[in-house]
C-alpha cells in the first residue's frame, strides 16, 4: 500500500507544461526523494499534492483511497504537511502563534495561549525539535525557523511530510540535525517526501528516489542501487562533470586589496568590522558564511551600493572608496549580484536591453546619444551563442528564461567587458546542474587569465572546488582564512557557525 500514489499528474501554466503525466508512488514510512533540476516540476508536483495548485489531469490516492484535494485545508485534513522552501512564517508573530494559527485551542471565544504554548512545548520535546515557543520568528535562527515549520505540520497531525529543498538555507551542522530529525520522524511512522537537487544529500538520507526532468518522470530507483553519477545523468539527460579541475597556480602580485573595511547595515543592525583581505592576480578568494553574516554588506560595500564607514578598497593601486557604482564598473569590476532579479537583471526587459545595462551610454552601443540597435542586437546574439544561453532569442524578456540561463545572461554581460576584478555573489544559486558546471568553468577561465575573483557563496562544495583560499565571515567579522585544499567541510561548517576550531 502506498502512502501517496499520484497518477498521470498534468499541470500547465499558460503554454508551459510544468508537470506532464507524472506518476509518483511513495511507500509508507519511507523517505522518498524527488530529484530534479530547477524547473523540472518538483515543487509544482508537490503544490498539486498540497492543494496549492489545481491539477489539470491525474488522480491522487492516499493510502489506497482516492482523494480530491483542491485547497491546502483539505490536504491538511488528509494528514499532509508541507515544509516550504521559503518558510511560510510570519516574522512578527511568536513561534506559538505561527504554529497554532488556523487550528487554535480556544477558551470561550479567546485563544487559549497557555494551552497553545504548552502544546507546542510538548510537541517539540516529543520529536526533539528544540524551539522556544515564546520567541518571535524574526529573532530565531534559520534552523529554528525550519523546526517551527516542521512543528506546524506535526501540530496538524500530518503523517505525510513534504520537505521542499529544506537544506538550501542550512549550515552543514544544521543539515546533520535535520537529517537526524527526518530519521526520527520516519521511525515514528511518518512518511517523508524530500525535494532536492543535491545529489549527496539524496544519497545520504533517502530510501527511494524519483527523478523528474522537464516536467516528466524519468524513473524511480532504490537509493541503494544507484550512485551520484547515474543520478546526475538522469537529472540532466547527459553526462555531467561533477567536480571541476582547477589548474595549479603560483604566487603572483596582489591585484585587489581590502583594508579594515567597516560597513553598517541599519536594517538588520549588522556591522562588517575591520574586514581585510588580498586577492592576487589569477586567484579565487572564497567567502564562506551562513547567509546574513555580512556577505551582502561586503558585496554591496565593494560595489558602492552601500556606504562604507571606513577602510580602503584598492584595485591595482587606486582606492575605490570615493567612486560611484557606475565608476567602479567602468574601471572594470564585473559584478554578479547575489539577488539576480533585484540587482542583476530587469525581468521585464528583453535580453538586448539587459545586455547593455550599465554601458548604455558607451560606445559602441550608444552613438551621439542614440542607441545603436543593430550593434546591440549583434552583441546580444554573440553573447547568447558564446555563453550557451538557452530558451530565448535576443528579443525575449529575461523573465521567460530559467534561473540558470538568466544567470548566464549576467555572466555574459559582465565577463565580456574585460574585467579587472570579478565579484561573484552566489553565482549558482537556484541554477541547475548543467548551468552550474558552465558557470564554474567560466569563472575558472577568468582566473586562469589572471583576473582576481572574489567568490561569495553559501555552497561549500562550490567554495572548495573553485577557491584558492577561503575566508569565513561570522557576524560581520573574518573568523578564519584557510587554504582551500586543506579545509574539510566539517571544519568549515563549525567556523561558519561561530565555533572555535582547534589547530
Amino acid at each position: 500500500m502506498y502512502a501517496v500514489d499520484m497518477k498521470g499528474i498534468t499541470k500547465t501554466f499558460g503554454d508551459t507544461v510544468a508537470n506532464d503525466g507524472v506518476d509518483l508512488s511513495v511507500e509508507e514510512e519511507e523517505i522518498h526523494c524527488i530529484l530534479g533540476e530547477n524547473g523540472a516540476g518538483k515543487t509544482t508536483l508537490m503544490n498539486v499534492l498540497f492543494g496549492l495548485y489545481e491539477r489539470d489531469a491525474g488522480e491522487i490516492f492516499l493510502h489506497d483511497k482516492e482523494v480530491n484535494i483542491r485547497k491546502p485545508s483539505q490536504a491538511i485534513d488528509h494528514g499532509i504537511g508541507m515544509i516550504h522552501q521559503n518558510f511560510m512564517l510570519v516574522n512578527r508573530l511568536s513561534v506559538t502563534d505561527n504554529i497554532v494559527a488556523g487550528a487554535e485551542p480556544k477558551k470561550g471565544i479567546r485563544l487559549d495561549r497557555k494551552k497553545a504554548v504548552k502544546d507546542v512545548r510538548r510537541l517539540s520535546e516529543k520529536y526533539g525539535l528544540k524551539v522556544d515557543p515564546e520567541a518571535r520568528i524574526e529573532n530565531i535562527s534559520v534552523g529554528d525557523q525550519q523546526r517551527v515549520e516542521i512543528l506546524k505540520a506535526l501540530y496538524r497531525k500530518a503523517d505525510i511530510l513534504i520537505l521542499d529543498e529544506p537544506t538550501a538555507v542550512l549550515t552543514p551542522q544544521e543539515v546533520e540535525d535535520l537529517f537526524r530529525i527526518m530519521r526520527e520522524l520516519k521511525e515514528s511512522g511518518k512518511t517523508l517526501i524530500f525535494i532536492t537537487h543535491k545529489l549527496k544529500e539524496t544519497m545520504t538520507i533517502t530510501d527511494r528516489i524519483t527523478i523528474l526532468r522537464d516536467g516528466k518522470k524519468v524513473g524511480t530507483v532504490e537509493t541503494g542501487d544507484t550512485n551520484p553519477r547515474d543520478l546526475a545523468q538522469m537529472m540532466v539527460g547527459r553526462d555531467v562533470v561533477l567536480s571541476v579541475e582547477k589548474s595549479e597556480r603560483e604566487e603572483r602580485p596582489v591585484a585587489f586589496e581590502v583594508k579594515d573595511l567597516n560597513v553598517h547595515n541599519p536594517t538588520n543592525n549588522l556591522y562588517l568590522r575591520d574586514v581585510s583581505f588580498e586577492i592576487e592576480e589569477g586567484e579565487v578568494l572564497g567567502v564562506a558564511g551562513v547567509e546574513g553574516n555580512g556577505q551582502l554588506e561586503l558585496e554591496e560595500g565593494l560595489m558602492g551600493l552601500r556606504p562604507t564607514e571606513s577602510g580602503e578598497v584598492i584595485l591595482r593601486g587606486s582606492d575605490l572608496r570615493e567612486l560611484t557604482t557606475r565608476e567602479r564598473k567602468k574601471i572594470g569590476i564585473a559584478h554578479i549580484p547575489s539577488d539576480r532579479l533585484r540587482r542583476g537583471l530587469i525581468a521585464e526587459f528583453n535580453l538586448q536591453r539587459n545586455m547593455i545595462l550599465g554601458s548604455e551610454w558607451d560606445r559602441p552601443f550608444s552613438r551621439r546619444g542614440f542607441l545603436d540597435r543593430n550593434r546591440i542586437k549583434e552583441y546580444t546574439e554573440e553573447v547568447i551563442e558564446d555563453f550557451d544561453i538557452r530558451g530565448g532569442t535576443a528579443d525575449v524578456d529575461a523573465k521567460s528564461l530559467s534561473g540558470g540561463n538568466q544567470q548566464k545572461v549576467i555572466l555574459g554581460r559582465e565577463l565580456t567587458r574585460d574585467p579587472e576584478l570579478i565579484i561573484a555573489a552566489q553565482p549558482t544559486r537556484g541554477v541547475d546542474v548543467g548551468a552550474i558546471e558552465y558557470i564554474h568553468g567560466e569563472l575558472l577561465n577568468m582566473r586562469d587569465r589572471g583576473v582576481p575573483v572574489l567568490l561569495i557563496s553559501a555552497e561549500l562544495d562550490e567554495l572548495r572546488s573553485l577557491s584558492d583560499r577561503i575566508i569565513v565571515l561570522y557576524e560581520g567579522e573574518i573568523v578564519a582564512s584557510l587554504d582551500a585544499d586543506a579545509v574539510d567541510e566539517r571544519e568549515l561548517g563549525l567556523l561558519m557557525a561561530g565555533e572555535e576550531v582547534e589547530g
Partner: protein, 312 residues
C-alpha cells in the same frame, strides 16, 4: 497667556475632544482591521460619508434615529463589500479603488440628496440621537464632566474599541487576520481562507466607518450636508497608522487630532490678535508633523497592499 492655557486645558476642550474623536476613532479602527488583513483602505472617507447619509435617510423615513444608525452600518458595510470585491476578487490596486470609492460616495450621496430632498446642500433636519448619561459615571468627578450628556455613540465607540482590540489580539480570528496581512501564503498553507478573512475585515471596516458617519449626521447635527465627512476618513487612516495598527493606539491618535481641533476652535473664540487662518492650521500641522514622525518608525503589515493568489 493664562487665558490661552485655560482655553487649551479646560474640561470643555477635553469634552469636545472626545466628541470629535468619536467618528475618527471608529473609522480608524475600521482602517486597522482592513489593513491588518492586508487591504489598504483609503476608502474610509467614502464609507463615513455613505454612513452619514444612510443614517439621516433612515431616520427621515422611519422617524427613529436608531433605525438610521442601523442603516448607516448596513450601507457602510455594503460599499465596503463592493470595495472588497474590487480589491480582493479582482485584485484592483487598493489606493485607486479607494479613491474611486470616495468619489463615488460623494457623487452618489449628493445626487440622492437632490433626488430625495430636492436640494444639493443640506438635508432636512431629522430626529437625532438623544444625549444620554451613564448612571454610575455620573457621580465620578471630572469623568462626569467629560462623558456625561454625550451621544450614546460615544459610549458605544469606547466599548467597540475595547472589543476590537480584544478581537484582534486575543481571539483566533484576530490571529488569522494579522497573519493574513503579514503573510497570506502562510495563512493559506495553514488552511486559513485568505479571501474570507479579507472580506470580513474590509466589511467590518465599512460597518465601523458607517457608524462613525452616523455619529456625524445623527449624533451631532441631525442632518446631512454635502461632503459631510470632510476629510475625516483620511484623518482616521492617519490615526490608524500613528496608532500602529492597534485600535487603542488609533483611539489615542484620534484624541490627539481632535484635541488640536478643539483647541483650535477655542483659540478662535478668544481674541489673540493672530490671524484665524493660522490658528485653523494647527490640527493639520500637527497631523503632518505626527505622521511624518510616525511613518518613519511605523511597521505596517508586511503584505499590506499586495494581492494574493497561488496561481499567477
Amino acid at each position: 497667556m493664562n487665558d490661552v492655557l485655560a482655553a487649551i486645558f479646560s474640561i470643555n476642550t477635553l469634552a469636545a475632544m472626545i466628541r470629535m474623536a468619536t467618528p475618527i476613532a471608529l473609522a480608524a479602527m475600521g482602517g486597522t482591521f482592513s489593513e491588518r488583513s492586508g487591504v489598504i483602505n483609503i476608502g474610509l472617507e467614502g464609507m463615513i460619508l455613505t454612513g452619514a447619509f444612510a443614517g439621516v435617510a433612515g431616520s427621515y423615513y422611519t422617524g427613529n434615529p436608531w433605525v438610521g444608525v442601523l442603516f448607516a452600518v448596513i450601507f457602510g458595510s455594503l460599499v465596503a463589500g463592493i470595495f472588497a470585491v474590487f480589491t480582493v476578487k479582482f485584485k484592483a490596486n487598493h489606493v485607486v479603488a479607494g479613491v474611486g470609492l470616495n468619489i463615488f460616495a460623494l457623487g452618489l450621496t449628493t445626487w440622492l440628496m437632490q433626488v430625495l430632498w430636492g436640494g444639493r446642500g443640506v438635508s432636512p433636519n431629522v430626529n437625532g440621537l438623544p444625549r444620554v448619561s451613564i448612571p454610575v459615571l455620573d457621580k465620578v468627578p471630572v469623568v462626569n464632566k467629560l462623558i456625561t450628556n454625550q451621544s450614546p455613540l460615544v459610549y458605544i465607540m469606547f466599548a467597540l474599541i475595547i472589543g476590537g482590540w480584544f478581537l484582534l489580539f486575543k481571539t483566533p480570528l484576530g490571529l488569522r487576520i494579522r497573519m493574513t496581512g503579514e503573510r497570506p501564503e502562510a495563512a493559506d498553507t495553514l488552511g486559513i481562507n485568505v479571501s474570507r478573512v479579507k472580506y470580513f475585515s474590509v466589511i467590518l471596516s465599512g460597518a465601523l466607518s458607517g457608524l462613525g458617519g452616523a455619529y456625524l449626521s445623527l449624533g451631532y447635527l441631525n442632518m446631512f450636508s454635502r461632503n459631510m465627512s470632510a476629510g475625516r476618513g483620511y484623518m482616521a487612516l492617519a490615526a490608524n497608522i500613528f496608532g500602529q495598527w492597534n485600535p487603542l493606539g488609533g483611539l489615542g491618535a484620534s484624541f490627539l487630532f481632535s484635541f488640536s481641533e478643539a483647541v483650535q476652535l477655542r483659540l478662535q473664540s478668544i481674541n489673540l490678535n493672530i490671524a484665524n487662518e493660522l490658528i485653523q492650521m494647527i490640527p493639520y500641522a500637527i497631523t503632518i508633523i505626527v505622521l511624518a514622525g510616525a511613518v518613519i518608525k511605523s511597521r505596517p503589515p508586511e503584505a499590506l497592499g499586495e494581492h494574493y493568489g497561488t496561481e499567477e
